[in-house]
């Protein structure tokens, strides 16, 4: 179905990534945000708070991030499309409720505009050091989806995709921006509402009495109801059976955990979203995401000017990781080069997928600014030798 025109600010804008992300959420149909503003993500909720009264919806500034991350889940079960917005310190506080969203299969979007850490770290400066936290941060086994935009335009476009994926798979979806993408201003084109595809929640057609909250078909994603529609449902963070009731035994645990992992893993190929540039025939492939992909692009261009065969693989969806693609590329390469604003997080994943078929060269950076293109170029040259 198409986007609700009330939320779509059609036109050509010169806005930063934070504002564009907010517009993407509004276009996607997000009508409830709970948040505790934190630099460098504040502009997202600031804009949402000022726009939502005319669109029709609710913004609540909560007492903290723990409350924010649970308020959105209540609103999701009341039928709304929801998100919360934060940065590293807030994300750490939200981890308990990421697990709750995973086990209750509550569709929700977590926006993380990454800044330097650990702890309060560098409030106004960039990093990409939360990539593993969103994959593994809450306890127990579950799967998530994470996207990494590299421009304000993508903050708009991919935010719509993030909401659509949250609805399709009923998982927490992480929108992994960084301070530079969040605060960088560029042209953003917002199309008319009828050109924006949004995924509606999969509401059940079963009547009360027949509906069981965690019954599934081959998609492994259960249908949903919302509070107030006359269904008596029980939603819990305890291990539960198809009826949603606590069932704390190994059989129920096995069925539930396998399914909430499998519903992403069995669709992993469909979820691959990468941009490849000159990868075919390359001797070295640079793997990057977010703001680092733009800096890496400058290094790749310079390496090509020097006659090297260098490809660029940009991860748009970071989790699930495109493991098959990386595995298949590996044997023909001298090395992967992985620059990122952390001490080597996704580089581990590239290395795991490459499984010894080629080298993986990490180009770590502690954050606070971006790489110098020369630092990436140096590693490309080293890889090509």
């Amino acid at each position: 179905m198409h986007a609700d025109p009330r939320g779509v600010l059609t036109g050509v804008h010169f806005i930063d990534g934070d504002h564009a992300a907010c517009e993407g959420a509004l276009a996607a149909g997000c009508r409830f945000v709970a948040g505790y503003p934190i630099t460098p993500s504040t502009e997202v909720v600031e804009r949402f708070a000022s726009r939502i009264p005319t669109v029709g919806g609710v913004f609540i500034q909560m007492e903290d991030e723990i409350a924010s991350s649970i308020a959105i889940q209540g609103a999701a079960w009341a039928g709304k499309k929801v998100m919360t917005v934060t940065s590293g310190p807030g994300l750490s506080l939200m981890m308990e409720h990421v697990g709750l969203a995973a086990i209750t299969e509550t569709p929700c979007v977590f926006v993380d505009v990454q800044r330097g850490g650990p702890s309060t770290g560098l409030p106004t400066l960039p990093a990409q050091a939360d990539m593993m936290q969103v994959k593994w941060g809450s306890h127990g086994d579950y799967e998530v989806i994470a996207l990494s935009p590299h421009s304000p335009q993508e903050c708009f476009d991919l935010m719509i995709k993030a909401f659509n994926l949250a609805e399709t798979y009923r998982v927490p979806v992480f929108f992994m921006m960084d301070e530079v993408v969040g605060h960088m201003t560029e042209r953003v084109v917002i199309p008319p509402a009828e050109q924006i595809e949004v995924v509606e929640r999969r509401w059940t057609r079963k009547p009360p009495g027949e509906y069981r909250p965690y019954d599934t078909d081959e998609s492994l994603v259960p249908e949903m109801v919302k509070a107030g529609d006359g269904y008596r449902i029980h939603i819990t963070g305890l291990t539960h059976d198809e009826r949603g009731y606590p069932a704390m035994n190994p059989t129920a645990q096995d069925a539930m955990v396998r399914r909430i992992c499998a519903k992403i893993r069995q669709h992993a190929e469909k979820l691959v979203d990468v941009r490849m540039d000159g990868v075919e025939g390359a001797e070295v492939v640079v793997v990057s995401y977010g703001i680092t992909s733009r800096v890496a692009g400058a290094a790749v261009a310079e390496a090509r000017r020097r006659g090297l065969k260098v490809g660029h693989l940009r991860l748009v969806i970071v989790w699930p990781f495109p493991a098959r693609l990386v595995r298949e590329l590996a044997p023909s390469l001298k090395a992967f080069v992985v620059p990122e604003l952390n001490m080597g997080q996704m580089a581990l994943e590239v290395e795991r997928a490459a499984a010894g078929r080629t080298r993986t060269i990490s180009v770590p950076h502690a954050g606070g600014t971006v790489h110098e293109p020369e630092a990436i170029l140096e590693k490309i040259l080293e890889a090509a030798r």
Binding site: F14, V180, H183, E186, P373
Partner: protein
């Protein structure tokens, strides 16, 4: 035109970020080029060092940071002192001449153009519009954005009800800039 990198610097409260935003918007939306804007500022709302980096190109911009600008626009002595060593030799220096005194740090071959922007703004009735005077001056001296584009960008960026004042400020800076540029080339 190939890539042009611009640094705008001044104090928080002078409208540094807005002026850079207007230049980027003019290029990106109304002149149909590519433009990126990166801003940095201290935690204080007023009086702290504040600067913005604008890149204008005919092609997609990868690396958005400005290390050695082709054009440096400065509105405070601190910003001048901080950024003058980074200006490319032969680049443009546009400065608030009542606030900044040039010295030997200006790189070789730099084309320097001063304007009493704050005084002009006061003459127009509000000191606040000094940044728009500077934006007009930028367009007049460098020709990097068209007057039509910068006019549209100002109109759509300033608070409603202040358009007339801001457009007068823009015109004042633009005409002064065109005149200085003409005199320097003749």
């Amino acid at each position: 035109m190939s890539k042009t990198e611009i640094r705008v610097g001044g104090l928080g409260g002078q409208g540094v970020i807005l002026s850079a935003q207007i230049i980027g918007k003019a290029a990106s939306i109304y002149d149909d080029k590519e433009a990126t804007l990166i801003q940095s500022f201290g935690p204080e709302a007023r009086g702290s060092a504040c600067s913005a980096q604008v890149t204008i190109d005919t092609e997609t911009i990868g690396y958005p940071y400005v290390k050695n600008p082709d054009v440096l626009v400065v509105m405070s002595p601190d910003a001048y002192a901080q950024f003058i060593p980074t200006l490319k030799p032969g680049g443009w220096l546009l400065y608030e001449e009542d606030l900044i005194t040039l010295d030997e740090r200006v790189p070789q071959g730099v084309k320097a153009f001063g304007i009493p922007a704050t005084r002009f703004a006061e003459e127009l009735g509000r000191r606040l519009v000094l940044n728009i005077v500077m934006v007009g001056f930028f367009a007049g001296v460098t020709g990097l954005v068209s007057y039509e584009a910068i006019t549209n960008a100002v109109k759509t960026s300033v608070p409603k009800g202040t358009e007339d004042l801001n457009l007068r400020a823009l015109a004042r800076g633009y005409e002064y800039g065109c005149e200085l540029a003409r005199n320097s080339s003749s």
